[in-house]
């Protein structure tokens, strides 16, 4: 059965729109989000040791045009910063634990 081209065309356009994201802007966004989260973690004293270095690596990868690497590193840094923030908040009332009572 022949499907008329006019019927296939909208489907093709839609599929391209959904599946395609500019890797440059995606990586850029991820790096910016990682930096913002790092600052949030630092504001409560919860930043981890390597988060800043990972962000620097992500920025270097971005400059080299290695967007996949930049994205992966930025996501790793963001996750670290999220966990560091949560950790600091959870420990805001840290006090003598049960074993020291």
């Amino acid at each position: 059965m022949k499907v008329p081209f006019v019927l296939i065309l909208p489907g093709l356009i839609l599929a391209t729109e959904i599946g395609y994201a500019d890797p440059n802007s995606e990586a850029n966004l991820a790096v910016n989000q990682a930096v913002a989260m790092q600052q949030k973690a630092d504001s409560v004293g919860g930043e981890w040791r390597d988060t800043g270095a990972i962000i620097q690596q992500a920025q270097a990868a971005l400059q080299k045009g290695d967007f996949n690497q930049a994205l992966a590193l930025a996501q790793q840094a963001k996750r670290q910063a999220e966990l560091g923030y949560q950790q600091a908040i959870q420990n805001q009332k840290a006090d003598f634990p049960a074993y020291l009572r």
């Binding site: 919860g46 981890w48 420990n91 006090d95 020291l100």
Partner: protein, 276 residues
């Protein structure tokens, strides 16, 4: 009006009493934990760090103490202490009591509403006299404090948290909170290593008791191959648990020193010292 005032004073007094009771109770709990954990260790031995609880390490350390690696620095520090600044003044103009200053630090400065450490006071003395401040990690500051600590040996640790100063209590609480906070990717607090797991092995090292930790600075660590300050150690510990360290002599570390030294109240200062 009078009723309100009386109520207010009453509340303030009760807050102060709670605070005082807490400090005493904190010290009791803290020290009692180690006394129970290591009943064979005399209280005053804790100033020797891990060598109070590690007999094998102690033998090596005692052999090293026959010719202590920090000894030459005491003489150098004395020279520094006696050398006038470019303006002709000396350290004694800032510290009229002389070099035996350990017993006075850390202390709460009510006017400035902050904890003052000996290292901070030294650098403030220098800048007030037109000299450049020292690096807080090692080098000349550690050398000068080696001399001052040596002159202070035997002084009793007696950190005070003023009764009537909410900010002092807050600084103490912040120091306490930091000491008990899990930090970094490894999710360790100071307490996890130096209280909960004290005496256990971390790789090839026995974890030292926190009781005594504030007594022996500066320390010549074989790992460093030089003298270093207490805040350098704080910084290093934070890095080891993969937390971003704070600045040396930051409010965070000064408050931490305030709490930790208070927990050591009753012990004697015995710096400088040597460690593995």
């Amino acid at each position: 009006m009078l009723k309100k005032l009386t109520l207010g004073i009453g509340l303030a007094l009760s807050v102060t009493n709670i605070a005082l009771a807490d400090l005493k109770e904190d010290i009791r709990r803290f020290q009692h934990y180690f006394f129970t954990k290591f009943p064979q260790v005399p209280k005053m031995e804790y100033v020797n760090g891990v060598y109070a609880i590690d007999p094998v390490g102690r033998e090596n350390w005692q052999a090293m103490e026959e010719f202590p690696p920090y000894d030459p620095f005491i003489d150098q520090g004395k020279q520094m202490w006696e050398t006038p600044f470019a303006n002709g003044k000396k350290y004694t103009d800032c510290f009229p009591e002389g070099p035996a200053q350990r017993k006075n630090y850390p202390h709460w400065d009510k006017k400035r509403a902050m904890v003052i450490t000996m290292e901070l006071a030294i650098n403030e003395c220098r800048t007030a006299n037109g000299e450049k401040p020292f690096n807080y990690e090692k080098g000349p500051l550690a050398i000068l404090t080696a001399y001052m600590a040596n002159a202070s040996r035997g002084q009793i640790i007696d950190v005070k948290v003023p009764k009537n100063d909410a900010k002092a209590l807050e600084a103490y609480q912040q120091g306490k909170q930091l000491w008990f906070s899990r930090r970094g990717q490894l999710n360790f607090s100071c307490a996890n290593c130096h209280a909960q797991n004290v005496g256990r092995l971390l790789r090839s090292d026995i974890l030292s008791p926190a009781l005594g930790h504030a007594a022996s600075w500066p320390v010549y660590r074989s790992t460093w191959g030089e003298l270093g300050t207490l805040h350098r150690r704080f910084h290093g510990c934070n890095e080891q648990v993969r937390a971003k360290p704070f600045e040396l002599q930051s409010a965070e570390y000064r408050n931490l020193e305030y709490f930790l030294t208070a927990m050591n109240n009753g012990l004697k200062f015995n710096g400088p010292s040597s460690r593995k």
